[in-house]
């Protein structure tokens, strides 16, 4: 029988066996999860960084605060939340996701199993695409667990007051309560709260606080030393509190639910990028170590440079760096002036463009990895 007359399959026969399809099956993804999950060293490292690191940080802070509340503030709070989300979950989440992605992208090749899998007749693309959900099935719960630790401690161990230039101001007060507090603690209020209005009442603070001789500064006039009565001082403090209330309100006691959800989604987006780029780059190179090193350099060296400096004639290149784009997609509370993270990128970029860059990275690296997988000699 010649090859020319070899039978070809009918459409219905093809439909019965989907192993030529590029879509990975649930079983294929499950098998990849099993293979990755059994890598004990990698799993320990992932858990240690994404869950262990924030847990350790907050444990130390809780112990410090319990041992010496005056010296060490409460473990949680809004600023702790923003700081840990940006410095730990975002940065290390990407690095660990990329590491897992690179492992998922090359494990079959490195261990000699790729050949076994290809000779099953399963589509190479299906084998490739199964790696992404499998890695995410491991990474998403890990990052979420780490995030829950951060969110829980930040919310439950939040401070009950805020320190403003040395004055302990209780948090969570409404406008009237804030003014009442200022009237009752007039010296603290006038000495420490920021005075930004046209009239400033400068009290002798510290050791001379008892003299009650104030200096009143009106915009465009010479400072006038004046002896004020307690009622006048209380009234001045109340007025100052009224003008400072918007600023006071902008400092939340604990991260609100909306910020928690937005931050969680943002951290997961970063993990998704890490996994997809890791899988794609490592499949393209056929090398895990080199891919991990390149992604480390991207995250730790190139991204900070591209994010914090405007390089003439390179602005569009900077905008195309994935870390710069995801920084622009961060919840405003994480990058704004009150966040205390210093995370905001100086490179101007719209959110629309940032989304475009993220999608381009996800699609581009996936396509490159898939192309290499389909053509690679097994």
């Amino acid at each position: 029988m010649s090859l020319a007359s070899a039978p070809t399959l009918t459409a219905s026969e093809r439909a019965r066996d989907g192993r030529g399809s590029w879509m990975p099956t649930g079983a294929l993804i499950g098998a990849k999860v099993l293979e990755l999950r059994r890598r004990r060293g990698l799993m320990v490292a992932l858990a240690a960084v994404t869950i262990g690191l924030p847990t350790l940080y907050f444990t130390v802070r809780l112990i410090e605060h319990a041992a010496s509340p005056r010296q060490f503030g409460p473990a949680g709070g809004y600023q702790q939340f923003t700081g840990v989300v940006v410095a730990v979950l975002y940065v290390f989440g990407f690095i660990m996701s990329a590491t897992l992605g690179c492992t998922a992208g090359t494990a079959d090749l490195g261990d000699g199993m790729f050949r076994h899998l290809v000779v099953t007749g399963r589509s190479r693309l299906a084998l490739y695409f199964a790696r992404i959900p499998a890695a995410l099935a491991i990474m998403v719960p890990m990052v979420t667990a780490g995030f829950i630790v951060v969110a829980a401690v930040s919310s439950l161990a939040a401070p009950s007051s805020i320190n403003v230039n040395g004055a302990e101001v209780p948090l969570g007060l409404n406008a009237t309560q804030f003014q009442d507090w200022a009237a009752q603690h007039s010296t603290q209020a006038l000495c420490n709260l920021p005075q930004t209005g046209p009239v400033k009442v400068l009290l002798p603070c510290g050791a001379r606080a008892a003299t009650r001789e104030a200096v009143i500064v009106r915009l465009g006039h010479q400072p006038t030393p004046t002896k004020l009565s307690p009622a006048q001082i209380a009234s001045a403090a109340r007025a100052l509190a009224a003008s400072d209330y918007p600023l006071y309100r902008s400092v939340p006691q604990r991260p609100p639910w909306s910020l928690l959800l937005e931050s969680w989604a943002w951290v997961l987006l970063e993990s998704l990028v890490g996994v997809v780029v890791g899988v794609g780059l490592s499949a393209l190179l056929g090398q895990r170590t080199i891919a991990v090193v390149l992604l480390l350099i991207l995250e730790v060296v190139l991204t900070p440079i591209a994010s914090r400096h405007i390089i003439p004639y390179m602005l569009n290149v900077q905008r195309g760096v994935i870390g710069v784009a995801t920084a622009h997609l961060a919840p405003h509370a994480l990058t704004g002036p009150g966040s205390g993270t210093g995370f905001a990128s100086v490179v101007p970029e719209s959110r629309g463009l940032a989304w475009l860059v993220v999608v381009a990275w996800l699609v581009g690296w996936t396509a490159l990895g898939a192309w290499r997988m389909a053509r690679r000699d097994a």
Partner: protein, 324 residues
């Protein structure tokens, strides 16, 4: 339900008598032609040996057939399905080991089979236990592969092949790393597959193993197939040698050297070893005896030496080398 039932129950029925068929198949790596214009036909239901020295292109041919690398030219089919066009369907009923069997060393044998079964049809998962039992690995199935010996990995490789209940098994150097007992077990395993109606194509450089295990053989040298067919037929066509014990070896050599049926004569301790032309029969052997008796040489023993595959292989490949 017998999950490892005899073959021939494939949903996709094909009528080709050949489990493997190639025409003008060529694969080059730069200037090196690893597979050179190969036309191969492996009959269904047989054990077929693909025999050649190291570097002859055996593994490359198997890799081409399995779609692990691309051919430069030529056509191929497995179980009647064209490759690579119908590769997915062809490989659905093929099990293969290529090079040394490597697995995820951090997984157990059973887990490795789970990973591979996931890439096959859903029924493959139900064949894991039966496959492990078939190769005698049930007791060690839950040990990590890192602790397996080479022989155990070979057997795990065969178990992996069985997950798809294959009509065709392609085993690349399956005896590598096996001790004599392991080789005997592997030989029996291969023959049992053939007895079930499966086709086994195995590549090897071990002539003796091919001769003991296979029904048919193709001999490959420098990428080309130099002979193929049933072993018995090929050996029948091989040059026949005759050991002659006689009274005067030197004179006997002179007498026989003029005969048309003699191609070469070698003097041995006890007499002569005479090589006859290809296809020589008993009549030609009798002619030798007649020549010696007529020349007054006393013949004490005249014994036909059956050519082994190894000797025949050396004849064929050395001749090819001479003509190159």
């Amino acid at each position: 339900m017998d999950l490892l039932a005899p073959a021939g129950t494939s949903e996709v029925s094909t009528h080709s008598p050949w489990a493997v068929e190639t025409q003008n198949l060529t694969k080059r790596f730069g200037d090196n032609v690893a597979v050179n214009d190969v036309a191969l036909r492996v009959p269904r239901g047989s054990a077929f040996g693909y025999l050649g020295p190291n570097g002859a292109g055996k593994t490359t041919l198997i890799r081409l057939l399995l779609g692990l690398t691309r051919a430069n030219s030529g056509t191929m089919s497995l179980l009647g399905h064209r490759v690579p066009d119908d590769r997915s369907h062809a490989l659905a009923r093929v099990g293969a080991i290529v090079d040394e069997p490597r697995f995820f060393s951090h997984l157990t044998g059973r887990e490795n089979l789970r990973v591979l079964a996931a890439a096959r049809e859903p029924l493959a998962r139900q064949r894991i236990d039966a496959s492990l039992a078939r190769v005698g690995l049930s007791q060690r199935a839950d040990d990590r592969v890192a602790k397996y010996s080479m022989g155990m990995r070979q057997r795990l490789g065969v178990a992996a092949c069985l997950l798809g209940d294959p009509d065709l098994l392609m085993l690349d150097e399956p005896m590598n790393g096996l001790d004599p007992a392991g080789m005997q077990e592997m030989r029996e395993l291969i023959r049992s597959f053939v007895d079930e109606g499966r086709t086994v194509m195995l590549s090897s450089h071990l002539l003796d193993e091919i001769e003991r295990t296979c029904d048919a053989v193709a001999i490959v040298d420098r990428g080309r197939i130099v002979r193929q067919g049933p072993i018995a037929e090929l050996l029948g066509a091989a040059a026949t040698e005759v050991d002659v014990d006689c009274s005067e070896p030197a004179r006997a050599q002179d007498l026989l050297s003029v005969s048309r049926v003699v191609t070469s004569i070698e003097v041995t301790e006890s007499g002569l070893r005479v090589r006859l032309v290809e296809g020589a029969s008993h009549e030609e052997v009798a002619e030798l005896n007649r020549l010696l008796v007529l020349g007054d040489v006393r013949v004490y023993r005249l014994q036909v030496v059956r050519a082994s595959l190894e000797e025949w292989f050396l004849q064929v490949t050395s001749r090819l080398g001479d003509s190159a």
